[in-house]
Structures are given as C-alpha cells and as structure tokens.
C-alpha cells in the first residue's frame, strides 16, 4: 500500500467529479419528476420522487452529499414546487413533513452507505494484508538457509507503513544479525527513545518462535501515520511466518550436518577396518618371517631362508603400495589442483608401470596392443602411473590367473583410450556402479587381496584429468572385465613420431 502517485491522485479526482456529476443528474431528474407530478396535481408522488432521489444520492455518495442533496431538495421544493411558487415561504405544517423526510432519509441512507463503504475498504485492506502474508510465506518455502529468509523478507518491504525489517537470531544469550554482523546484546536492540514528534520512523520488535521456543527477533521499521489500522501490515503474522521459516531452515541445516557427520563417521570406520586388515596382514607376514630368521636361522634350509627374505621384501612393497593408495584417496578427497598437470605421454607412463608390474607380479603374462608411438595428455605423471598400475593390478587380482591380462591403447576422436582386459568371472551389472566406491570389495569368489581402493583412485584421478572411466563386463563369451580409461589428447599428439628426424 504505497502512497498515491500524482497520476493516481488525478484519477481519483476525476472519479470524484464523475460521482458529483452523477449525483447532479439524479437530482435534476428527481426535480423534473417532482415538478411534473406536482403539475399533474400529485403532491404525494412528487414528494416521494424527491425522497427516492435524495436516498439514492445518500447511498451513492455518503452522508455529506446526501445532506447537501436533502438541503437542496428542501430549498427547491419550497421555492419551485410548493405554493407559492418562485418564492421562499415559511413552510406550513404539511410542508415540514417532506423536509424532515428528505433529511432523515439522507441521513439514514448516507450513514448506511458510509458504513458499507468502510467495511468494503476494511475487507480490501485485510485482503491485501493477507495476500502479502501469503506471498511471503510462499516465497519463504524456497528458503534453505536462514540468510535466504532474511533476504526474501526484505524483498517484501516497503509495504504500507512498513519501511524495513531486520532479523536477529538468538545466539549465546545475545542476538546475531541473520545477514552477518557482530553479536548484539539484548539491550542494544531495545527501542531507542521514541520521540514521536521528531522521528518520522518508529520501530517495533517482535520475538520469533520456533518449535523449541524463542529463536530470535525481528525489528520492524515503521513510518508514522495518522491511521492506526489501514496502512499497518500484520506484523504479528509476519513474525509468525518468519519464525516458522527460520525454524525450518535451522532444522534443515542441523539435518545436513548430521548426515555429513554420519558419512564421515562411516568413512572413518571404513578406513579403520581397512587399515587393520590391509596393514596388519603384510605386517604379520613380515614379523613372522623376520622372527623366524632371527630364531631359527641355523635350522632353516637356504631355500626357506631365501623364501622368507623374499616374503619380507614383497610384503614391504605391498605395504608401500597400500599407503600410497591411502594417501591418494586423501588427495582425491581434498581435490586435485590442475597446477600439478603437465603434458605426459600415456605410452611412456605405461612402460614405467609395466616395469613395476613385472617386478610385483613376476610370471604374470601381459599382452600389449599399442596402436601409436605417442599419446600425450594433460595429467600428473605419478597419478597417471597410479591409475594404470591400479587397473592392471585389479585385472591380475580379479582375472583368470591362467590367462594373460590385455592392455590396449588406441586413439580416436581426439581421445586416448587405454583398456585393460581380464578373463575372470566379470562384474555383475548391479555391482558395476559400486566398484568405484572407496573400500568396496568385490563379492566374487576370486577376490584375492585387493584393498578396495584401486578402482576408486583410478576413477578419481581420471576424472581429475578430465577423462572418463567405464566398465564393460562381461566382454568375452560371458566372462571377463574390460575397464576403459579415456583421456583427452593434447593437440601435439597429432604429430606422429614417424614424420620426424
């Protein structure tokens, strides 16, 4: 309900002029009717016609205009219609009655019309206030955080005499502005000295209530006005709606905090159980081998001794890979900045990985199908090494130990595709989306010694390089898993080595 603009003021003047013209027309018609009735010697009809006219004007334009019409009607009746015509005369007893009737009907109809108009205006104001509240509560439905509530609430002002509002949240015995700022004491918020004559704006403070009582307060800034009701929005209603919305947002925040906490608890216990298994198993083997060598060195055959020593160094390498995986998991969690990325040749890194695989899994057969001499991508070399190592190791652990693991590198449509294929039992369709999860271990029977991190890391690093990873299983006669990593090639790899030198 903002103040009228000049244009609106002009329009309302025009409406008033229209109404006056209408009243004048009614008055004129009534005068003519009365005059005709009088000339046909029907004095009662004449008075009644005038009465109808005055009543109509009273009802149309209210008490004041009704009285004006009644007075005019008395004068006109006295001057033009009642004997002696064209002269004001002291009314006879007969003529008092129409005069009283005119004024009485004007008063009654005007008062009634005024009341009606008042209640219409009242109803319209109430409707506007309701609409304002409804709009507010509707918009607040979309608020997720308390700051949203404050922002949305401010969008609804100015409304009538409401010029502004601020929301404060109850915190540690004081009040915190919802849209940022320092903690205020309750005393700071109490209304300053209210000098009505000096200040055009006053304020009002209302508490906000949630399910568990007071959750804050709202400070309304209000323009002073003469009318106590019409321009004053429903502050209590606004406060209730704000209280509900803030309560809901705070509940939502607490819920998501709980969910995050639960997730991190789950991760912690997964890490703990993984550490206790994957660290302890190799440690146990190392401890057993080392103490055996210590205690029974003389009685062991040279072959046994060599085997134990080999066990120790093998398990050490395994521990090293496992800790590397744990660290990599942390890296993925923290986010990998691409400042670490440089141009790397996938085929060169594959060569490095194959050397490490042959050392870790001697005797494992690997078949390579490498289409090109160079495949340059943007990546971190050590992380790319880890991706490829994990994929090949995964294929060795879950594949068929009788059959070779295949590694295929091709290029197509600006991408380098590296595929690692095994011929194990494969991964079922419902298990496929899970294998990239942290600490997920396959349910399959051939599970030997994975730590549930290999594919998670391969996936996380590949995505960090802007690539994709996907599983095709089964890929060969109902068996086998193929995992394909696709990485965007940098434009330099378009050159082939053959054209050089």
């Amino acid at each position: 309900m903002p103040g009228p603009t000049p244009r609106q003021r002009l329009a309302s003047l025009f409406r008033d002029a229209n109404a006056v013209a209408g009243d004048a027309l009614i008055f004129t018609l009534a005068t003519c009717g009365t005059y005709l009735a009088q000339s046909w010697d029907r004095p009662i009809s004449a008075v009644l016609i005038y009465l109808v006219g005055v009543t109509a004007i009273g009802a149309r334009s209210g008490l004041a205009w009704g009285l004006v019409a009644a007075l005019s009607a008395s004068l006109v009746y006295n001057f033009f219609i009642s004997e002696p015509v064209f002269r004001f005369s002291t009314p006879s007893a007969d003529e008092w009655i129409p005069l009283i009737a005119f004024n009485a009907s004007a008063i009654v109809s005007g008062a009634l019309a005024g009341r009606l108009k008042d209640s219409v205006r009242l109803a319209r104001t109430a409707q506007e206030k309701n609409a304002h509240l409804l709009r507010l509560s509707d918009e607040l439905q979309r608020a997720i955080r308390v700051e949203d509530v404050a922002r949305i609430a401010r969008r609804g002002v100015p409304f009538g005499r409401l010029r502004g509002l601020e929301i404060f949240l109850a915190r540690n015995g004081g009040f915190l502005p919802a849209e940022g700022g320092s903690l205020l004491e309750t005393a700071d918020l109490l209304p300053e000295r209210d000098d009505a004559a000096q200040q055009p704006i006053g304020q009002r403070i209302l508490f906000l209530y949630g399910a568990e009582g007071e959750i804050g307060l709202v400070r309304f800034a209000l323009e002073r006005g003469p009318d106590p009701y019409y321009d004053m929005p429903d502050l209590q209603g606004i406060a209730i709606i704000l209280g509900l919305a803030i309560d809901r947002c705070q509940l939502l925040e607490r819920l998501s905090e709980n969910a995050a906490m639960q997730k991190s608890e789950e991760l912690k216990s997964a890490i703990l159980s993984s550490v206790s298994h994957d660290l302890r198993t190799p440690l146990t083997a190392i401890e057993a081998a080392a103490t055996s060598l210590q205690s029974f060195d003389q009685s062991l055959t040279p072959r046994d001794r060599a085997r134990m020593l080999e066990t120790i160094s093998q398990q050490c390498r395994k521990l090293n890979r496992y800790t590397a995986n744990l660290l990599d998991m942390g890296r993925i969690q923290a986010g990998i900045p691409d400042i670490l990325f440089i141009e790397v040749d996938v085929i060169e890194i594959l060569g490095v990985v194959l050397a490490a695989i042959r050392e870790a899994y001697p005797g494992q057969e690997i078949e390579k199908h490498i289409q090109s001499d160079l495949a340059v991508v943007r990546a971190n070399p050590a992380m790319l090494e880890q991706v490829i190592f994990n994929l090949i190791e995964n294929a060795i652990l879950h594949g068929n130990s009788e059959q070779a693991v295949h590694v295929v590198v091709t290029q197509a449509a600006g991408r380098c595709v590296l595929e690692v294929l095994d011929f194990g039992p494969g991964i079922t369709a419902d298990e496929q989306p899970l294998v990239f999860n942290k600490f997920y271990r396959s349910r399959s029977a051939t599970y030997r010694e994975g730590n549930g991190l290999g594919l998670h890391i391969a996936n996380g690093f590949t995505e960090a390089f802007g690539g994709t990873i996907r599983i095709v299983s089964p890929h060969f006669e109902g068996r086998g898993t193929k995992i394909a990593v696709e990485l965007p090639l940098t434009d330099v790899s378009v050159h082939q080595v053959g054209s050089w030198g």
Binding site: E348, G351, D373, V376, A382, V492, V497, W500, G501
Partner: protein, 230 residues
Amino acid sequence: MGMNILLVDDEPAIVTALSPVLQSQGYRITAAESASAALKAAELEQFDLALLDLGLPDADGVEIIGKLKELCRAVIILSARHQEAEKVRALDEGADDYVNKPFGIEELLARIRAAGRRSGMAAPGGSTRFVSEELQVDFATRDVRLLGEEIRLSPKEFALLETLCRHAGQVVTHRKLLIAGWNDPHADSQYLRSYVALLRQKLEYDASEPRLILTEPGVGYRLEASPRAE
C-alpha cells in the same frame, strides 16, 4: 673405491639399516641428523657424496643442496614418490640424482656407483667413449653400436644419447636434455619426447617397455647401463 659418504637423515632406523651395508661395500659413512650438523660435518671433512633426506627437522633439505654441493662432490636426494616438482627443484639446485623412498639397497648402491663414476669422469676432457655390456658409443667418431651392430642416429638423437651416456645410471632432467639437443631449456618438451621415442625404436628390444632408456615420470630420463671398466 672407498668413497667417503655423508648420510643426512634424522631417522635413526634408516641410519642403522644403511650404515653396515654401505660399510660392507667399502664406503666410509658419517651420519648427520640435521641440516646444520650436515653442513658442519661437510666443512670439516671432504666428502665424495652426500645422501640427503629432504625432510629434516631444522630446514627444508632443498635449501642446503647448494651449499652441500659446494662442499661435497655429489649429492643424492632421498625423496618420496609423487613429488616430482620437489625432485626437479632439488636437481635444479644442483643435486645429481635421487632415490625414491622406500628403496631397495641394490637401487641405492647403483645410484651411489653412478654418482662415483660421474664425479670421477668429470675430470677435464672427460671420457671419449662409453662402453657397456650391450651399448658402445664413441663420442668423437659418433659411432654407435648395439650388441656390436652399427646403429645410425641423427645428430639430435646422438646428442641426447651422448648426454645420457655421460650420466649413465643417473637421472638427466628434461631441461638438461633440451639444452643438449636444442641449446634451449625452454624448447617444446614435445620434441624431446619424440626424439626419445625414436631413440628407443632404434635401441630398445621393445620400445613400449624400455630397459635401456628409462622414463623418470615428470623429471627426465635415465640410461640404465653401467659402463664396463676399460
């Protein structure tokens, strides 16, 4: 032999594990557990080699490489994987090589031997030939033989191979190879990758799984061949 080695590591277990083995190989070992102790020891005694762990209690190991290199003839870094940037920085600071932790003793001994050879060869004039079990390179006549068979190399290929041979067993950074081949440390490393691929095609049995010219991801290349004593 009898190289004099300064072992800089604050972890007693590492010192305890390495000292007897290195001594059994004929090296003399002095241990220092901090950067300041290392510098003090190096000022008192001439060391042929410093084995430097980068995670020291009183300083970042990289910061003392420069000073240490002035006092010792060679510096080898003990570094964690995944830290190529740190390795490159250490090599740029003057370190000669690095070993990834955890390492096998054979790997460490190979690096120490390579560093010893390198500082022995650094005499004026240097060597004119490189001869290993499978590879023979004559730096003057540019004659290259693999298992006795002549290999024809372009001038750039030869320049790269010569640099790798002169540092046999040691890492050679991309930067050093770019200077050797193109006389410009900022040349496109794509050239380098392409020429190394060409060299591998000519020298390796399987270029996709090299055994002679190894990749040090993110750092450089290493010629895995030890020269025969002539």
